[in-house]
């Protein structure tokens, strides 16, 4: 059969990464996503934004999703034209009140946490969507246009 090479194969590039829910992996996860995003020629500031947002989502999965216990965290990152999307998912306890959880300064651990995780994700990315239910895990999808 005749093969035709359409450029369509290059229109979406995807990376998937699964790793143990451990605080040591927070740095690993944000660096991997940042390196994946370098194909979009981001500025240093955009790289910092992506790293911070990914770090927030992964930290939430470790601390809240799995409550510092065992579990797997999945990251799926995709580049589509000039938009980077990153989904961080866990199979942890889930969030009962997403609206409350996303409120600035709200934390279930106010002794040590600032409660600004979601605010930081929203500040550094263009869109943040959260899908979660008690016992059903949490999935955070963030999108950012690179190079304006």
């Amino acid at each position: 059969m005749e093969q035709k090479n359409f450029d369509i194969t290059r229109s979406r590039e995807v990376m998937r990464l699964t790793f143990d829910s451990r605080s040591e992996n927070e740095e690993f996860a944000r660096v991997v996503v940042a390196v994946f995003a370098t194909r979009m020629n981001p500025t240093l500031e955009e790289i910092d934004d992506i790293k911070t947002a990914v770090s927030e989502a992964v930290t939430n999965a470790v601390i809240h999703g799995y409550q510092n216990g065992e579990g797997a965290i999945l990251i799926e990152a995709a580049v589509e034209e000039n938009v980077l999307s990153v989904t961080v998912s866990d199979d942890g306890v889930g969030i009962s009140n997403i609206e409350k959880a996303m409120e600035p300064m709200f934390s279930t651990l106010p002794e040590e946490r600032s409660g600004m995780g979601f605010s930081f994700m929203e500040a550094f990315m263009d869109r943040v969507e959260v899908i979660s239910s008690p016992g059903g895990g949490t999935s955070v999808t963030m999108r950012k246009k690179i190079g304006r």
Binding site: S23, E27, E45, T52, S55, E56, E111
Partner: protein
């Protein structure tokens, strides 16, 4: 491995040299360690040094905010120095720039 925090106590002044990557993982021991140092030395002036720090997320804000509340309650002061433009962005977004003064150098932070 690079130690997370390096503490420098001079009388009632405590300088905390922040790690290169200031995230949840690297913040885990800070609370316990600073509580101990602050209680032992009657610290009245807490200074954060960001000169090594190239990455910070909201975990760092949590650390600063809680240390700020703690030292304010006992009448002390908190300041910082050595923050790069990226770290200042994070500190600003976290509302820290209105809470604590920033200095150019360690000497300035100590004597002002």
């Amino acid at each position: 491995m690079d130690p997370s925090f390096i503490y420098e106590a001079k009388g009632q002044i405590l300088i905390i040299h922040m790690p290169k990557e200031l995230d949840h993982h690297n913040c885990r021991n800070l609370r316990y360690e600073t509580d101990l140092l602050m209680a032992e030395n009657y610290i009245s002036k807490l200074i954060f040094d960001f000169s090594r720090t190239t990455f910070m997320d909201s975990s760092g804000i949590g650390i600063l905010l809680n240390r700020y509340k703690q030292i304010k309650a006992s009448g002390g002061t908190v300041s910082f120095y050595g923050a790069s433009s990226q770290i200042r962005r994070i500190l600003k977004l976290g509302g820290m720039l209105t809470l604590m003064p920033q200095f150019e150098s360690k000497e300035e932070a100590i004597y002002r």
